[in-house]
């Protein structure tokens, strides 16, 4: 199995706060890798650094054996590296279908002159089918004509995933996809992530919910104070003494 993403000793400091102390991990092609850690461990910062939204102070990021450190997000999307956001980030005033369309189309922008020449052109049948299939897979087909802001919270989060999937990524980075979801919504979400993974998309899932990560991921990286604390299967890391301490605190010394 080849390594699709390699994060080599990246560091990031915000003023006095060393948000990412020293982070190093790699993700294999086709894998679902979890990054877990308590609040403030630097999980979102790690995603921001890899996706190009921020530039690391030190260290390199390799994607498909290419050094992509500091590349703009839109360039990385074209390479096949797409992310989602922790808060529901969708185009609130657009329909569900239009949201997905916008995810699919940014990659295929033909340039100003060509777009002016074509005007308000409809989609080709193949593109229509692609969007419809995607909506059906994610259980959003019935909601396609609805305005995104009227969807329940859980569906808005799934829509965020749909927008990212529409860009046909090789690697998707999900920032706390399950946060704030009810149990049955989490189950639905797990199904969506598994199916996308089965279709060949590698996944990097960031969350602080150990149960969610454990059921989904083959391997987990535990992040603590901006550094890797442990890496291994969910079973291994949940038994690791340092991980237990980071999550539950050190037991009190008997008096």
């Amino acid at each position: 199995m080849s390594e699709l993403l390699q994060v080599q000793d990246i560091q990031k400091r915000f003023g006095a706060l060393q948000a990412i102390e020293l982070l190093r991990f790699s993700l294999n092609e086709g894998e679902i890798l979890g990054i877990i850690g308590p609040n403030g461990a630097g999980k979102t910062t790690a995603i921001n650094l890899i996706s190009g939204m921020m530039r690391p102070d030190n260290g390199r990021v390799f994607f498909a054996e290419e050094d992509v450190t500091g590349m703009s997000p839109h360039v990385l999307v074209n390479r096949g590296l797409v992310r989602t956001f922790q808060a529901t980030t969708v185009y609130q005033d657009q329909t569900v279908r239009e949201n997905v369309l916008r995810g699919a189309y940014a990659k295929a922008y033909p340039g100003l002159l060509k777009s002016l020449w074509r005007g308000a052109q409809g989609l080709s049948p193949a593109e229509e089918t692609f969007i419809d299939d995607l909506l059906a897979q994610l259980g959003l087909a019935e909601m396609a004509p609805l305005t995104a802001r009227n969807l329940p919270y859980g569906h808005q989060k799934v829509l965020g995933l749909a927008i990212a999937l529409a860009a046909q990524p090789r690697l998707m980075m999900l920032d706390e996809p399950a946060a704030g979801l009810a149990h049955d919504e989490v189950v639905h979400l797990e199904g969506v992530i598994r199916r996308a993974n089965a279709s060949g998309i590698s996944m990097l899932v960031v969350d602080h919910n150990m149960r969610f990560i454990s059921t989904l991921c083959q391997r987990v990286v535990v992040l603590h104070h901006g550094a890797e604390l442990a890496t291994g299967t969910p079973r291994e890391v949940t038994r690791d003494q340092r991980v237990i301490e980071a999550y539950l605190g050190t037991p009190h010394e008997p008096a």
Partner: protein, 329 residues
């Protein structure tokens, strides 16, 4: 999830499209024919001004849709106007190349400034554009050897001897305004327009879907400033005179007010805003002392009761009529 019926959407949309083209046809015919029936050149003059301001209002609309409220739009109009006026009066260029230059020079200035200015959002962008607008106005005023200072530039020739009279120039302005507004509409309805809206609605989502946000913003800024530069040129060659006062802060603010009053959601908004607000002072000429008060009251009333702008009032009225309704069997 509430049940929603979608079956009505398509026939309604098709009907609206037909309705829109019928309206555009009637409007075009009316704009072409009416000057032939009046001998009052005053009205043709006002109509010409309205048409020219539609260019600037529509071009600023591109930036409004991008989510960037610029307060230096009149400065770019000035750059275009001065370019064209200086090239024709000082260097004796014919109108056509000077007119082309009146779009290119502001476009190049926008290209140089855009990557810096457009990193700013919200009030910060408003303030920096305000400062830049004032800087340009001072430049027009103080660089006397080039611009003639506060006195301005006189004897700017018409585009062609044929367009020397008011009525002929009206038709010239009509064609130019139709081309510029049509171009703007084409941008907004194309894929480019879809990304312009995406950037306004969620910049980071657009970015993480693969839209090169900053490059896109600069591109739209360049187009917008180039278009308003053309208005500057058309104004100069119509009035045959140019002075810094026409390109100050209040003019920039006017362009923004056209958009706010007309409606910021669709291109029809700034057009309606420009028609309404450019002709209003002339309609109110009988009440000179009350003119500003009435103007202010209208602004407040529209903002209070029609936050979507005059376009929303029109749309709601249309919905009340049987032909405008989407559904109904």
């Amino acid at each position: 999830m509430q049940p929603v019926s979608v079956s009505m959407a398509l026939p309604g949309q098709a009907r609206q499209r037909v309705l829109r083209w019928v309206l555009i046809g009637i409007l075009a015919a009316a704009l072409l024919i009416w000057p032939l029936f009046t001998h009052d050149l005053f009205y043709t003059h006002i109509a010409t001004l309205v048409l020219l301001y539609c260019i600037g209002a529509a071009s600023l609309h591109l930036l409004v849709r991008l989510g960037q409220l610029s307060l230096c739009h009149a400065a770019f109009m000035g750059i275009g106007g001065y370019t064209s006026a200086l090239l024709t009066t000082r260097l004796g260029w014919p109108f056509l190349p000077a007119f082309v230059a009146s779009a290119i020079v502001p476009g190049v200035v926008a290209l140089a400034l855009g990557p810096i200015l457009l990193r700013l959002r919200g009030v910060y962008f408003v303030m920096i554009t305000y400062s830049f607008g004032e800087l340009v106005r001072l430049l027009f005023n103080e660089w006397q050897s080039l611009t003639g200072g506060a006195d301005g530039i006189f004897h700017i020739p018409p585009p062609h001897p044929f367009f020397a009279t008011s009525r002929e120039y009206y038709y010239f302005a009509l064609v130019m305004a139709a081309l510029c507004v049509g171009f703007t509409g084409r941008i907004l309805s194309s894929q480019t327009g879809r990304f312009i809206d995406s950037i306004r609605e969620s910049e980071r989502l657009a970015q993480s879907s693969g839209v090169p946000v900053l490059r896109f913003k600069v591109m739209v800024f360049v187009l917008s400033c180039g278009l308003v530069g053309m208005q500057g040129s058309l104004m100069a060659h119509y009035i045959h005179y140019l002075s810094p006062g026409a390109f100050g802060f209040s003019e920039s603010l006017n362009f923004l007010v056209f958009n706010v009053i007309g409606g910021m959601q669709t291109l029809a908004g700034p057009i309606i805003g420009a028609v309404f607000l450019v002709s209003l002072p002339e309609v109110l000429r009988g009440w000179v002392e009350l003119q500003r008060v009435i103007y202010g009251v209208i602004l407040i009333v529209v903002m209070l009761y029609a936050p979507g702008g005059l376009v929303m009032i029109g749309r709601r009225t249309l919905e009340l009529l049987p032909i405008g309704r989407g559904g109904g069997s």
